[in-house]
């Protein structure tokens, strides 16, 4: 997935929202903002833990709080997932305007 060139005209796997043009990093998404995952900038051998937990391109993520040391805790598919902010910096996402899924 790392070779997928981000392009404003190209929709993410299942997102067709009009406001999906701004691409940002999960680490920079404000709390409670629902985003859709576009791309994971990680080497292939580090993808599986994310994929197994449902963090796939096209899935909706919503950072709901930060840990005491600033790591994001996101809601994905009804589960809460804590990840390091370094990794959150490797997840490319786009905004979703139609509210939480």
């Amino acid at each position: 997935m790392t070779d997928l060139v981000p392009s404003p005209t190209r929709p993410a796997v299942d997102s067709t929202e009009p406001d999906a043009s701004v691409e940002l990093r999960l680490a920079d998404v404000p709390l409670r903002q629902v985003v859709v995952l576009v791309r994971i900038d990680l080497p292939d051998d580090q993808l599986e833990p994310l994929l197994e937990r449902g963090v796939l391109p096209g899935c909706r993520l919503c950072p709901i709080r930060r840990s005491p040391f600033g790591d994001p805790i996101v809601r994905v598919d009804g589960s809460l997932l804590a990840l390091r902010r370094e990794m959150a910096g490797c997840l490319c996402v786009r905004r979703v305007t139609d509210g939480p899924h």
Binding site: L51, R66, I73, A82
Partner: protein, 646 residues
């Protein structure tokens, strides 16, 4: 693949033979219980088997599996194996490898399963269903257990389980394993497995995240499966459970910027307090029980070598292990509550930042905390650490944590050599400060070692750290109790055997060569001579042959040195509070040598149980030998420096 088939048949064929040595009768069907972590799999296992479970070790694979027997109402019996919780089959963690090997029928000492029970937490259905397809590809009769159904309904979720089952092509059961609701359907499934066991095909099996029918690059394989599952779940009218209010409220405290770390620290202090203060009366009780029963036995037996072997060898050996049981039980009670309630996942997230800095990760927090009681269960619990490098680093540094076996040694030496003076007013005396210093010394060595390992032997890109935060739940007393029984069995078996063996061998070495048919004085025994032989090596540390003998004997377990020194000095009933023993030590050691001995015990891996567990967990001698050598070197250099400086 003929060879795979051959291996499979071998495993199946081997089982009745193995069983028949223990209990005659036909082969019992084997059902594997699998599921993601925190899906309630073990609770279901405990419900189905009760106390009819055993922890079995298998050669080659480094892990014990939980096997239990479920008794069906019509007296039919089958065996269940509780596999570790997994999110997938990439075989990234040791737990995942074990699960894969058992499902594929490749694990030694256990046959291929005849059926699978896949347990998922229905409140988090979608990601958990990712396991369904790989499991169904095994071609075994499968039951999908939709656990925590009550919670789904309570949190306004919903699902048509018939549609779900039909579309996935799997039988389903709604359960709540904690309360025992819905188990009838599970029993019905088990009954059918027990009746129809002959019909299982013995074909080659493989379980993997990527379908073998349609091999795809990993990310597409997941995306395809994910889309399919999303479609099925939609069709089945799945309404996810609303967010748990309680969990949100608790998280806003436990993960708060200020309160989070405070609660975390308070809980760590509480665990320490429990294992050191509250466990003490229980440990004293066990000790008294062992020594009085030993004495009672001694008076009833004639004074022969056999009595000496039984009392001084076996009894002392078993006793030195049993005495730690209360502490281990208290530790695991606390850890069990923290884990089952869901707090431990939060603690791991908080700890991750600190551990990351020294090259470890948040999941290492629980093993390292356990290591303050005993390194053996700590090393076992490191299996949940994803990424092999992190797991190795965790188990490598665990023995530096000040385990409770060091405490009697510390107590004896501190009482004998450190005069009690005030350091911080009434709060901290010199003795307590010394003890704290020794804890800090161990922790520092661990930090340094982890840091060094991650830059040398275990170098590599840092592994992703991901932690699922399960909803908070009230721990079930039943599960906690069963876990305590289970943990004590593992501890006694792991630690007991090796310590028993070493104490008996050491006792044997004090008995030869016989002089006029009697045991020799300890100085002239084989053990005493060993002390003399090593004296030149330990003289620079300020130790004489007596301490040498103590060091050799403490190879079995650190605290054994206290009893050995008592024997050498001829002090009756010596323990760490014995004034006579303290007086003798003060005569033979100066302050420098005493501190050197403390430092030596802080660093050296004087624990055969740890070495044995390391060997199992790393499947070889390389790591345990490296660890033993490294810790001995550090201990020697540290002790040398202490003796030289003071």
């Amino acid at each position: 693949m003929p060879d795979l088939l051959g291996a499979d048949c071998h495993a199946v064929a081997e089982r009745p033979a193995r069983r028949s040595t223990v209990e005659a009768g036909p082969r019992r069907p084997l059902v594997a219980l699998i599921g993601p972590p925190n899906s309630g799999k073990s609770t279901l296992f405990n419900r189905l088997t009760g106390l009819r479970q055993k922890v079995a070790n298998y050669p080659g694979v480094t892990v014990e599996k939980h096997i239990g027997r479920a008794r069906l109402p019509d007296e039919g019996v089958l065996e269940l194996v509780d596999l570790p919780g997994v999110n997938g089959f990439s075989a990234r963690t040791l737990d995942e490898r074990i699960t894969r090997d058992v499902l594929e029928g490749r694990a030694e000492g256990i046959g291929a399963p005849d059926a699978v029970v896949l347990v998922v937490d229905v409140t988090r259905l979608e990601p958990q269903l990712m396991l369904v397809e790989p499991v169904l590809e095994l071609g075994l009769p499968t039951l999908l257990v939709l656990n925590m159904w009550d919670e789904l309904e309570a949190r306004n979720g919903g699902l048509d389980d018939h549609v779900l089952g039909r579309r996935l092509g799997v039988r389903t059961a709604r359960t709540n394993a904690r309360s025992g609701r819905g188990l009838e359907e599970v029993w019905a499934f088990l009954r059918e497995v027990a009746d129809g066991v002959a019909g299982t095909d013995g074909g080659p099996r493989a379980v993997s995240n990527v379908s073998r029918h349609a091999p795809l690059p990993i990310i597409e394989a997941f995306a395809t499966r994910r889309r399919r599952i999303a479609g099925i779940v939609d069709e089945a009218g799945y309404r996810p459970a609303g967010p748990s209010r309680l969990s949100e409220r608790l998280d806003s405290i436990f993960l708060h910027r200020v309160w989070g770390p405070i609660v975390f620290t308070a809980l760590v202090v509480l665990v320490f307090q429990a294992i050191f203060t509250w466990a003490t009366p229980l440990m004293d009780g066990v000790e008294a029980l062992i020594s009085s029963s030993g004495q009672a036995l001694a008076t009833r037996l004639p004074d022969t070598w056999f009595r000496a072997l039984l009392i001084d060898g076996v009894w002392a050996g078993v006793g030195s292990v049993l005495v730690f049981l209360p502490q281990i039980l208290i530790l695991f009670l606390f850890l069990g509550i923290l884990e089952d309630s869901g707090y431990m996942a939060r603690a791991a997230v908080i700890a991750d930042r600190m551990m990351y800095r020294v090259g470890l990760q948040g999941r290492a927090f629980l093993p390292l905390l356990s290591a303050y009681a005993c390194a053996v269960p700590a090393i076992l619990s490191a299996r949940t650490v994803e990424n092999e490098r992190d797991r190795l680093a965790t188990i490598f540094v665990a023995p530096f944590m000040t385990c409770s076996a060091r405490l009697p040694v510390y107590a004896l030496l501190i009482a004998a050599f450190i005069p009690e003076r005030r350091v911080l007013g009434p709060f901290l005396g010199t003795r307590a400060a010394t003890l704290l210093g020794l804890y800090a010394l161990g922790a520092l060595a661990a930090v340094f070692t982890a840091f060094a390992l991650k830059r040398t032997l275990l170098r590599g890109a840092s592994a992703p750290f991901l932690m699922e935060l399960p909803p908070y739940r009230l721990p079930s007393p039943r599960s906690l109790a069963l876990r305590l029984v289970d943990r004590s069995r593992i501890f006694l078996r792991r630690a007991g055997r090796i310590i028993l063996l070493v104490t008996v061998v050491l006792w044997g070495l004090t008995q030869i060569p016989r002089i006029g048919g009697q045991a020799p004085p300890i100085e002239r025994s084989a053990l005493g001579r060993a002390g003399h032989v090593m004296e030149p090596a330990i003289a620079p540390l300020g130790f004489d042959w007596r301490i040498g003998v103590g060091l050799v004997s403490s190879l079995a377990a650190r605290e054994v040195i206290v009893g050995t020194l008592g024997t050498i000095y001829g002090v009756e009933n010596s323990d760490e509070t014995s004034m006579a023993l303290q007086a003798r030590l003060q005569r033979d050691l100066d302050l420098g040598a005493a501190v050197a001995l403390l430092v030596f015990f802080a660093f050296a891996l004087q624990c055969m149980s740890t070495v044995a567990v390391m060997r199992r967990e790393t499947a070889g001698w390389k790591w345990p030998l490296l660890q033993w050598g490294y810790m001995l070197t550090l201990a020697y250099v540290g002790a040398l420096a202490a003796n030289w400086l003071l």
